[in-house]
Each structure stands twice: as C-alpha cells, then as structure tokens.
Symmetry: C2
Subunit: 348 residues, 2 copies
Amino acid sequence: NSSFNQKNHPHRRYNPLLNEWILVSPQRAKRPWQGQTEKTSEEQLPAHDPNCYLCSGNVRVNGEKNLDYKGVYVFDNDFGSLMKDEVEFSEDSSDFFSLKPERGINRVICFSENHSLTLPEMEIDDIKNVVDVWQKQYEELGNLDYINHVQIFENKGQVMGCSNPHPHGQIWAQSSVPSIVAKTQENLKKYFDKNGTSLLEDYVKKELEINERIILENEDFVALVPFWAVWPYETIIVSKRKIENLLDFSKNEKISLASIIKDLTTKYDNLFEISFPYSAGIHQSPTDGKLHPEWHFHMHFYPPLLRSAEVKKFMVGYEMLAEAQRDITPEQSAEILKNISTIHYKSK
Amino acid sequence: NSSFNQKNHPHRRYNPLLNEWILVSPQRAKRPWQGQTEKTSEEQLPAHDPNCYLCSGNVRVNGEKNLDYKGVYVFDNDFGSLMKDEVEFSEDSSDFFSLKPERGINRVICFSENHSLTLPEMEIDDIKNVVDVWQKQYEELGNLDYINHVQIFENKGQVMGCSNPHPHGQIWAQSSVPSIVAKTQENLKKYFDKNGTSLLEDYVKKELEINERIILENEDFVALVPFWAVWPYETIIVSKRKIENLLDFSKNEKISLASIIKDLTTKYDNLFEISFPYSAGIHQSPTDGKLHPEWHFHMHFYPPLLRSAEVKKFMVGYEMLAEAQRDITPEQSAEILKNISTIHYKSK
Ligand SMILES: O=P(O)(O)O[C@H]1O[C@H](CO)[C@@H](O)[C@H](O)[C@H]1O
Ligand SMILES: O=P(O)(O)O[C@H]1O[C@H](CO)[C@@H](O)[C@H](O)[C@H]1O
C-alpha cells in the first residue's frame, strides 16, 4: 500500500460551513474533453448601447424609463421572483404538501452607467460606491418589517445565466431565511456556542499561518480558496474582523473590500484572458431583528470554468444525485491564482 | 389583501426527502429571455461511429479496445474519479481541515451497440437488459467489502456535460455514502422510525388520490412531478411497493421499470421534439451491510430545459447562494407532461 497523498489520491473533504462532504479527484485532471464548449465573445462593447435595458435613459421591457444616471443605479426588477403584497393564507399542516407564501422585493443594481465595464475594470472608488449602495440597500430593505433576509449577488457572463453584459448585480430580499443561508447560520452558531469565537475568524487565522490557499490579503480582508471549495476556481472573501453584516463596516473597510474585489476579479480575468464568468454573493446576518453574534461577513465566488475559457466544470449526474465533486485540488487552484498578476490584461 | 393562490403567488415548498425548502415563482414564467441559448443538434447519427470510443470494437483513448459487443456493455472508466487502491492514512482531527481518502470504482455502461439510439428509442426488452445489468452491477460492486454505496446515473445531452452521444450511463461505487444520499436516508429513516411506513409509499398513495402531478402509472411504478421539484420538468419514478434496492426486483418489476422509463423519456423527447437532455439516477439502499427498512427505490430525472430546446433554467446566483428556485409550477409541468403522447415523434 502506498501512503496517502492529497495531490494524487481521491479523497473527501469536509465543509464546516455547510456540514457536508465533497469528493476531490486530483488524478482526474488530465481527462480529455470532447463535450460542450462555451462560446467566448470578446468583442469590445460600446459605453452606451441603445438596445440595453440597463443603460442610462433607455426604456425597459415593461415601458419604464431608466433615469439618466451616472454611477450606481438601483431599481425594482421588472420580472421579480417575489411580490411585495401580503396575501391571506391559512396553513395546512401536512407531511408531504407543506407550502407557505413568500413576500419579498427583487432589485437590480447597475454598477456603472458605462455598458462596457465590469468590476475588475472599474476604479476602486467606483467599486466602493457599489459597496455603499449594497450597505444602504441592506439597511433599507432589512428595515422593512416583512423582510428577514437580503441576498446580494451578481451573475456574470452568459454561461452563468446572465442575459445582459451591462455591469449589474441583484438583490432578492424576502421574509424567510433561504435554505443555504439557514444551514450556514446553523453551523456558524454551533461553532460560536461551543467556542465563543467566530468559525470564519478562527479558520482565516489558520489559513494565514499555513499560507497555502491565500490569494490576496489587505488590512481588512483575505481572499482564499477554501479547503472545501467545489468549483475549480472557487474563492471566498472574508473580513479579518468578525463583522456581522454590511452595517458594521467602517469607511476604510469599504475601501478595502472594493480593493480586494477588484484584485480578485482582475486575477480571474487574467487567468484565461477573458471576462471571467461567475456567480458571486454576500453571506451576512439576516435582518430578522434577532441577535446574531455567530455571523461573520463573507462573499463567495463560484466560477464555472475549468481548464480554459471554453471548458467548464459540469455539476451534473453524480454531483446532482450524490455529492459535489472536483478534479483540480484547491491547493493547485490557489497556487495558480496567487501567481497571477493584479494588472488587468486589457490595460497592459 | 387577496387570498393566496399557488398558481399566482410566490411561495416556498418543503422537500421532505432533503428537509429543505425551495422557492416557487409562478408569476415569473413570462420573463423575456435574452441570455445564452443552447445548441440543438438534430443530425441523424450513424449506427456505428469509427471515432466513438464507446462503439463496439473501437479503441479507446487509453489504448484499450472495446469488445465486439451487442446489447449492454460495461467497462471501467478510463478517467475515473475514484481509485481501487487502499492507501495508508492516519487521521488528523481538525475543525477546518478534515479529509479522508476515498476508495471506489467508476464504470461506464453502454446501453446498446447502436450509436444512434437513446433510451426512449430502444425496445422495452432492451431497456430491461439495462435494468438487469444495473442489478448485477449493484450486486457485484456492493459485495466488495470496501464498497458501501453504488451510484447509478446517466448524463444525457451536451448541456448536461455528456461528451459522447453514444447511449450510456455511469456507475460510481465508493466507500462512503455520498452527501445527498446520506441526507435522503436520514429523512427516510426519521419518517420510518416515526410512522413504521415508507415515506415514499405514503407520499405516492396520496399523489395517486390527488392525481394532479401523476404523469404515468403502471402495475409496479408511478412517474410524477414531485410537489417540491426544482427543475422545470423534474420527475421521479417510484416503485409502488417498498423495494429497498434493485436486488429485490422481480422479473415483472424490471419490465415495468423499463416500460415506464421508455414512456417517460419518450414524453420528454416529444416535449420540444428533440433528444431531451437530463441527468437521471437511482437512489436506493447503500451496500454497507446494515439493515435499511427505511429505503424505498426511486429514480430522479433532472432535466435543465425550461421553455424550449434552446432555453434552459440556470441554477446560478440566488440558487447557488440561497435556495433552489423555479418559475413554472410543478402542477403546470405535470399537466403538460401528462398530456404528451408516448409515441416517439421520430417514429410518427
Ligand atoms: O465522466 P464524464 O461523463 O466525462 O463527466 C461528466 O459526468 C461526471 C459525473 O456526473 C461529472 O463529474 C463531470 O463534470 C461531467 O462532465
Ligand atoms: O434574473 P435574471 O438575471 O434574468 O436570471 C438569472 O438569475 C436568477 C437568480 O440567480 C436565476 O433565478 C435565473 O435562473 C437566472 O437566469
């Protein structure tokens, strides 16, 4: 018997945020690929596109007109997944047919009036304006009595279901704490109740000591490939301080967050020299009016690409039925991301 | 306030198999789509393709040669995610860096020597041969002392990461019970311990009474859209009898399973008149040598398409960070699938 080596042998790793195992298959990275390839479009976009329903002053599908905005611009999603209205409902308890109405608000946040930009290509100050708006939105929506959770996220790139290249993100604010956030909260709380400290604070300290999966670090934040990452180039941005949510951010921390987002997404773009697709989003304390000393602000980046701009990782079959699986190890991905420049390839 | 109507109002539904909620947004189905569209290739394939590494007698990437097989053919995956070898390992307990080696076997099952077929286009007898091989493989692999779970599945279509149109499925057999199966088992067990009956048996009985989400029924099996389905046309095939796993199948039940698989996948193909992509797979009792009276054989179908052959549902952003979400309701999908013919459009 040979002795175990995590660079060569299949193994499972434990994700303490979700209390779940994942499968890692380092030996499989060399598998040839004859399957679907993704389109990559690298045409230069105009700064204003008359057909874009997110550009300044344009008319949207439902007939409303965008303001002649500059900078960040927020409006209610015309085709939201949630509705504000209160509805009358009498609960019917049932083992198999449990259902409850869900109220909420969906918003779109344009990051810039410039149709051709993306986060990595924006100035730190302008990304900081986005962070300011995230903070204000979290506050405003969270203060509504029927909103108990505010999910801030961005889908970037066609392969991530994004239907418009105009730089924008979304907010889905709702009455319930959604499943994955509830699970994360449960595990953060278990750890906090046991140790009196934040799971993510303790984890990041250890990662900084080991220094094998750290991609970027500044005064207030660390970006790393989590030990239990499932997507090939998945990363997480964690605040060094236990910050429960955006409201606790200082001005400096907002600049630090903007700066680490810029550097991380620039590294992503430089990896295959394309605008790198991902879904990213913030996990922070719910706005349910309860105390949440267990919460620790973090931002997940889930990018689908595997070995090139054209070949993505498919989370299908085994992954849908059994367990998340990855080929390249988190350490290999971290090594690659760490060594990539933070100067955007387009600006060279 | 209007009163709640599940056809018009956003709501959450509970999935008792996974103990999780999902978000349903019926009002959102009319959202326009300007995003990525899928390629649809409907060229007629040859019965034998000299470049296909799954066809009879062809040489595979690693130099091995397929037998001149007819019917079902099984071989070890050349680029498996698991390895058979035992490795020496000393566990290190850790809050954040838990890891353990995983042993296992990956196999490929060609459903037919005919490169141009798919399950819906095969004869029931030939699909029954596939079920026979699933049964044998489950037995053979499950009997190995280090194999405690056998995951049988199929990825169909390029959009599901399938890199070869030759009709085939896969088996991943491994030492651990994978995360999603373990969660399902936990919930089946909780119900069984409480009620002394099978969760899925009781559920299917209720569904047959209500008859709103049933797609197909024969002597031994029911195919339906679960109340908590997340994919637009997700379905589940459940045995009427509480069968724990494939070993308990009678010959008749194997024919019934083959027949309902043929009819369901034919309906799928007829929906948009294309070869309908999906990931499908069997959930059944683990081969860990323990008693599993809680288990009830079922087969999940997770198809990604939403409103046409070109537009799929993207599980991204909110879904990756917060909670699974669907637009069209399970009842609407069931209605559509129920009314579709079981005669394949190609044979008309
Ligand atoms: O082994 P295949 O078919 O090439 O690979 C496909 O199925 C596997 C199991 O669902 C996934 O891990 C891969 O991401 C997918 O591309
Ligand atoms: O609202 P969008 O950007 O059109 O839609 C996209 O993001 C949503 C939230 O992640 C998903 O539910 C959709 O499937 C996806 O296409």
